[in-house]
Symmetry: D2
Subunit: 361 residues, 4 copies
C-alpha cells in the first residue's frame, strides 16, 4: 500500500536505496515450470547499465543479480522469486552539503516533507537506480510472455528536439541510444556531445511495442490494459507523459479517419494502439512516453535548504545528461509486467470462454 | 480484481450497463463526519448529463442518484456508501442487426472475444454511461477534499484542431464546452455545427488542476501520485494520452529551463505539474488528457460480424459528436478520487511526521 | 480497505444498514457464461430468513433480491453483478433511549469510538442483517462451484450444551435448526422453548463441508486455503472460533495417529480437514465455527451511556434467542466464496500445470 | 496475490525455501522515524531459533538477519525495509528417496499437484523455516506498537494433554516451553522426554495477548480485527484452530453470563476477548491457537509416490517433536502484524474523529 508493489497477480515488490547495501525484489505469482536462470535477467540489466558509452553516466554499477528462491533445478516452482543486487560502488564521500539542501526538480523537498527524514546519499530511494529491479523482474515476465508468443520491444523515438522515425528493430541494440534508424545515430551523437559541452541535459521520447498480444487482456472499467500500462510507464522516474496509439494526435483527428475499420483480412489501421474499450485487440500494443531532462546538471540552480533559506545548488557527480537514453529497457520492463499481470488476470476469470468467431490476424 | 474498483483506501466499485436496470457504486473508506446529501452528487451529475445543449447527445438521462447507506442524519458514518441510479430511458428497440456486428473502434470485438458474451444494448458495460458513477463518487471526494482546502477543477483546452488558452475559471461553467475563454465559444459552436453537418466527430483535450494540495501525497515507487493519476485518467472512455505538467513538451526542453527552481518565496515555475519524485510538491497539480473522436458516426464503416464476414456498419442513435465535451466533470472526478485515496494513504503511514522546515506557499 | 470487500479475484463488496434504505452488493470477477437468475439467490436467502419457525426472530424480512447488472439474457457476462434488497420492514419507532446507550456485548461502544457517529437503528451496519448479502453472493459462488463438481453444505453440530452427531444430509433442511439428526430435533425444540421462558440466549456450533474440491486450491504462505477460510468464517457476526478438521482436538493427539496416511486407494483418514500445507488435498474440506449466545436478551444488563454514566439496558425488540440457528447458510456462503476465490486464483497461476501423478479419489 | 504478502497497509512479503540460498522479506508501509536496528529483530529470532534446548530440533540455524534498506542512520525512512537471512546449514545430502515420495500429513502431495514441481529439500517453501521472516517482520511491528503503548505477548497454554494455567509473564521466557507456570515445567520436560522415547510427536495450544490496544481497531464487516487475526494465526504452519476470547466455550454459555457488562469503572469481564463487532474494545485482545502434532516422526508411515504406488515413508532428520514449542514467538508476530496493519488502517480513515465519551480503562 506504500506503493512499492506493482501488479495484482504477478506482483513485483522492490526495495533498496541508491547507496544502501543492496537492491532487491520479490516476484510473486510467476507460473511454475518456466526455465529461468540469472543470466536471463542479466541480459536486460546489462542493456540498462550505465557506463557503456560516453553518453551515459560513467558510474560503474556491475549490477550482478542473484536469484535467491523460487527456482529449483533451473525451473520456477511457483513460489516467490527473491532477487538481490548488492551495491558495490558505494563511494564514501562527503554529503555534508547536500544533506541539508533540496536540489531543484529532485524529490529532495517532497521526501523531506513526506517522511521527515531522507537518505540523501545519491537520492536514496528516489534514485533511478531503483529501476534496475524493474528491469530484472521485467525480464522474467518477458521470458514467460515469449513462451506465449508475445514479444515486447522498445526504441527511442525522439531525443530532445530530434525526432526519430522507426526504421528497423535490428538497429536498436547496436547503438547506445536504442535508436531504430542507424542513419540518425551520428546526429544524436553530435547533439549529445554539444549538450555535454553546454553542461545541460535534455528529454527523450521512448516508444514501446508488444506484438503477439492475444485478444482479451485488460479489465474494464478501471483496470483497462491501457490504464494499467499508463500507471506502469508513468511510475518510471522522469516520465511526464504517456500515449497509447495516436495519443494526443487523436485530439485533432476525425472519427471517420481515426476509427480502425475491420475487414476479414484484419484491421485497416491501428490508431487505437492495440486497445479497444480497455481490452487488447490483438493488434500491436503501442505506447509512447515522455521523459523530462535530467535534473542534475552542473549549472548552478536556485533553491532552499531545510531551514527555508535560499541556497545555490551545484550538482556534482556522475549523471546522465539524458535519462531517456537508458530508459528503453525500463519501459519494456513495465510493459511486460503489465501484460504479464493481465495475462494471468484474464485467464483467472475467462479460462472457460470459447467463441467460434475467428480472430483477426 | 476484475477491474471495477478504483482506489486502495478510498475505494469506488461500480456496476451497471448502459441499458440495464440501474447503475450503482459502493464507496468504501469515506471518513465519518462529512455532511453529505444526494444534492451534493447531483450537481456534478448534472454537469456531465447529456442533452443540455445541441452539441451533445439528445438522450434524456435524468440520472437521479440515491444514497442508500453510509449516511445517517445527513452525515457520513464511515460505513460503505451505496449509490444507485435507476435507468429510465431504456427504449426498447430492435437490436437484431447490431448484436452480431462489431462497430469499428468500439469495444464490441474485444468484449466478444474476452467474455464470449456481451450486452450489446447501447454498448453495455463499455458505454460511457458508466462514468456517471465516477462523477457521483468523485463528488464525495471533492467535498471531503474541499474541507481540507483542496479544490479540483477542469476545463477544455483543445477542441479538435482549435487550441484554447486558459483565461478564467468563471467562464468554464457558463458554456456547454467547459471552455475557459468566453471569446472562443462562438468559434467552438461554429466548428461543432459544421461537424454535425459533416456527420463526423472530433477529439478534445481536457486540463484538470488541483489547488491547495499539501506536500507529501503519493507513494513511491510504483504508486506515485502522477502514476495513479495517469491510471485514473486513462481509464476514462476514449482517453488516449495523459500528461503531467509540461508532458510531452518536456522532451525537447533543457534541464536548465525545465527544472523548477525554488526560492524562499516559492517555486519559480511549475513545469513539473506539481509532482516531484511522485510526491505532490504543494504546487498546483496539473494534468492534461487527450480524448479520441467519438467512434459512433453515421458515416458507414467497414467491419466484420461474429461469423468473421465483412459487413458495413452504420451507427444510428443519439451520440455525442465529441465525447470530450462532457469529459471535464469526469476528469475532475478521477483527479479527486486519486487525491482522496492518496490523502488517506499518506496519513496512514505518515501521521506522526513533523518537520520544522517551512513549506513553500 | 475499509473492510467491506471479501475475496481477491472473486470479490464481494457489500453495503447497507439494518434499517437503512437497502442492502446491496457488487460481485466482481464472476466468470461469464454462468446461467443465473434471481431465484438462484432467493433460495438461499429464504433458508437464512427469519420468522420461519418460532425459534427465530419474528421480524418479517421478505429479502427479495434483484439482480441489477452483469447478467444478460439469463447468463453472466463477466461484468460486475449488482445486487439489491430494499428494506421494507423499517418500523418507525422511538430510538431516543437506545441512541445514547451502549448495549453490552454489542458493537455500540466500539462503533461510537471508532467513527464518532453510528446509525443506532437496529444496530446499523453491525446488524447481522448484513449477512443477507453474503448469502446472496455465496449463492452465485455455489452455483459456479457446482458446475465444477464442488458442493458446499453445512449443519448445526452443537446447540448450547447439546452435541449433535452427523447422521444424514437429507435431514438438514427439514427442520428449523439445520440439524442433521432428525431424532435430535425434539430435544432441541424443548431446549429452545425453555430458553425463551428463561429470557436467555445460547451459542451454537456449525460445521461446513465442501466435497469435490480439486487438489491445489490455496496460496501459501499467508493466503492458505484454511487461513482465508478462517478469515471468512470469523468475519460472521458472533463467531468466536474456527477449526479446520480436528481443530483443537489435534492438540492432545499424537503424530502417529493424526497424520493422514495415504494408500493408492486414498487417504486413510481426514484429521487435517482437507488441507495440507494450506492447499486443498482433494479430501472433504471440513470446518467448524463457534457462535456466541445472542447479546440481545430481555434481562436487564449493566452498561454505560455516551456520557460515561452507568445505565441499565433492557433490550426489547424481536431477536433470535440463538443466532447460530440461522448461521448455517451464512457459513456455507463464506466457505463457497473462499473456494470460489481460490479456484480463480489457482488457475491464474497454474493453468499450465500438468502432472502424470494420479490424484487420490 | 499468490499469497506471500500479509497485511494491507503494513505489508510483509516473504520469500525463501528451507534449503535455498536465503530467506528474505520486504516490509512496506512502516512509518518513518522509528529507531530500528538488526538487534531489535535478532532478539525475537533467537527466541524462535531451534536447538536451544533438547526439546526442539538440533538443527543449527544461526538466523542472522540483515537490514538492507529502509533504515538510515538508525531510523526508519518510510521506504521499504529489506531483510535477509542467508542459509548456512544447507547440508548436502541424498534426497533421491524423498524426492519421489509424499510424506504423510506434509504438503508434498499438494505442492506436487498444485505446481507440478517442488523443491523437496527440507520441505522447500512449505517448511516452518519460512516463519523466521514472520518473526523478524513482527519484531518491527512490535517495536512500533510498543511506542504506542501496545504490548503483545504469548505463552503455551497446553502441551499435548497437559493444560497449563496462566500464572505469570515473568516465567514465560525462562523455560524452553514459553510456559507461564514455572511449577509445571518439570511435568512438561518429563512428558517430552517420554515422547522422544516413543518416537512420536504431539500438539500444543498457544495463547497470545495484546494489552494497551486502543478502542477502534478493525474494519467491519469482512476485515474485522478478529477475522484478520484468525487469518494471520491460521496461516502459521500446523495451526488447525483459532479462538478469540472464550472461543468454542461460548457455544455452551448463555447470553446472560457471556455478555461483558460495562460500568463506568470498566468492563466486568472479557469473554469477548477484546473485540466487539470486529472492533477492538480496549480490553486485552486474547486469542488461542491449536497446533497439530509434528508430521515428521521416525515411525514408518504408509504413503504413495509420484507414480501412485504404495510406499513406506520413514522421516529421518532433525525434527521438532512438538512444533508448538517454538510457535509462541511466531504467534506473537502474527498478532503484532495484524494490529500494526489495523492501527494504520484505522487512522487512515478515522484520524479526524473526536468524541467526548470517556474510554473505559
Amino acid at each position: 500500500m506504500s506503493g512499492n508493489t506493482f501488479g495484482k497477480l504477478f506482483t513485483v515488490t522492490t526495495f533498496g536505496e541508491s547507496h544502501g547495501e543492496a537492491l532487491g525484489a520479490i516476484i510473486d505469482g510467476c507460473p511454475p515450470g518456466l526455465e529461468l536462470d540469472a543470466s536471463d535477467l542479466q541480459h536486460d540489466l546489462d542493456r540498462r547499465r550505465p557506463g557503456t558509452s560516453r553518453h551515459t553516466t560513467q558510474r560503474r554499477e556491475p549490477d550482478q543479480v542473484r536469484i535467491l528462491s523460487g527456482v529449483f533445478e533451473g525451473v520456477t516452482t511457483g513460489t516467490p522469486i527473491g532477487l538481490l543486487i548488492e551495491n558495490t560502488d558505494q563511494r564514501s564521500k562527503d554529503y555534508s552539503k547536500i544533506k541539508d539542501q533540496f536540489r531543484p526538480a529532485h524529490a529532495d523537498y517532497t521526501y523531506h516533507h513526506k517522511y521527515g527524514i531522507r537518505d540523501y546519499r545519491g537520492g536514496g530511494r528516489s534514485s533511478a537506480r531503483e529501476t534496475a529491479m524493474r528491469v530484472a523482474a521485467g525480464a522474467i515476465a518477458r521470458k514467460y510472455l515469449a513462451s506465449q508468443g508475445i514479444r515486447v520491444r522498445g526504441y527511442m523515438s525522439q531525443l530532445g528536439p530530434i525526432g526519430i522515425d522507426f526504421k528497423q528493430w535490428e538497429a536498436v541494440d547496436s547503438n547506445p541510444f536504442f535508436c531504430p534508424d542507424p542513419d540518425k545515430v551520428p546526429e544524436l551523437e553530435a547533439f549529445m556531445d554539444q549538450l555535454r559541452r553546454d553542461q545541460d541535459s535534455v528529454g527523450a521520447r521512448i516508444t514501446v511495442v508488444a506484438e503477439g498480444v492475444p485478444v482479451g487482456l485488460g479489465e474494464p472499467v478501471f483496470d483497462r490494459l491501457d490504464a494499467d500500462l499508463a500507471h506502469g510507464l508513468m511510475s518510471i522516474n522522469a516520465v511526464k507523459g504517456v500515449e497509447i496509439g495516436d495519443g494526443f494526435a487523436a485530439v485533432a483527428s476525425r472519427g471517420s479517419e481515426h476509427r480502425d475499420e475491420m475487414t476479414p483480412e484484419g484491421f485497416l489501421s491501428n490508431h487505437a494502439g492495440g486497445v479497444l474499450g480497455g481490452i487488447s485487440s490483438g493488434q500491436a500494443l503501442v505506447a509512447h512516453l515522455a521523459l523530462k531532462p535530467t535534473s542534475s546538471i552542473t549549472q548552478p540552480g536556485r533553491s532552499i535548504d531545510i531551514h527555508g533559506e535560499a541556497v545555490e545548488v551545484v550538482t556534482k557527480g556522475r549523471h546522465d545528461p539524458c535519462v531517456g537514453i537508458r530508459a528503453t529497457p525500463i519501459a519494456e520492463a513495465m510493459m511486460a509486467l503489465t501484460l504479464m499481470d493481465h495475462f494471468l488476470r484474464h485467464r483467472a476469470q475467462n479460462a472457460d470462454v470459447e467463441v467460434d468467431t475467428p480472430r483477426l490476424s
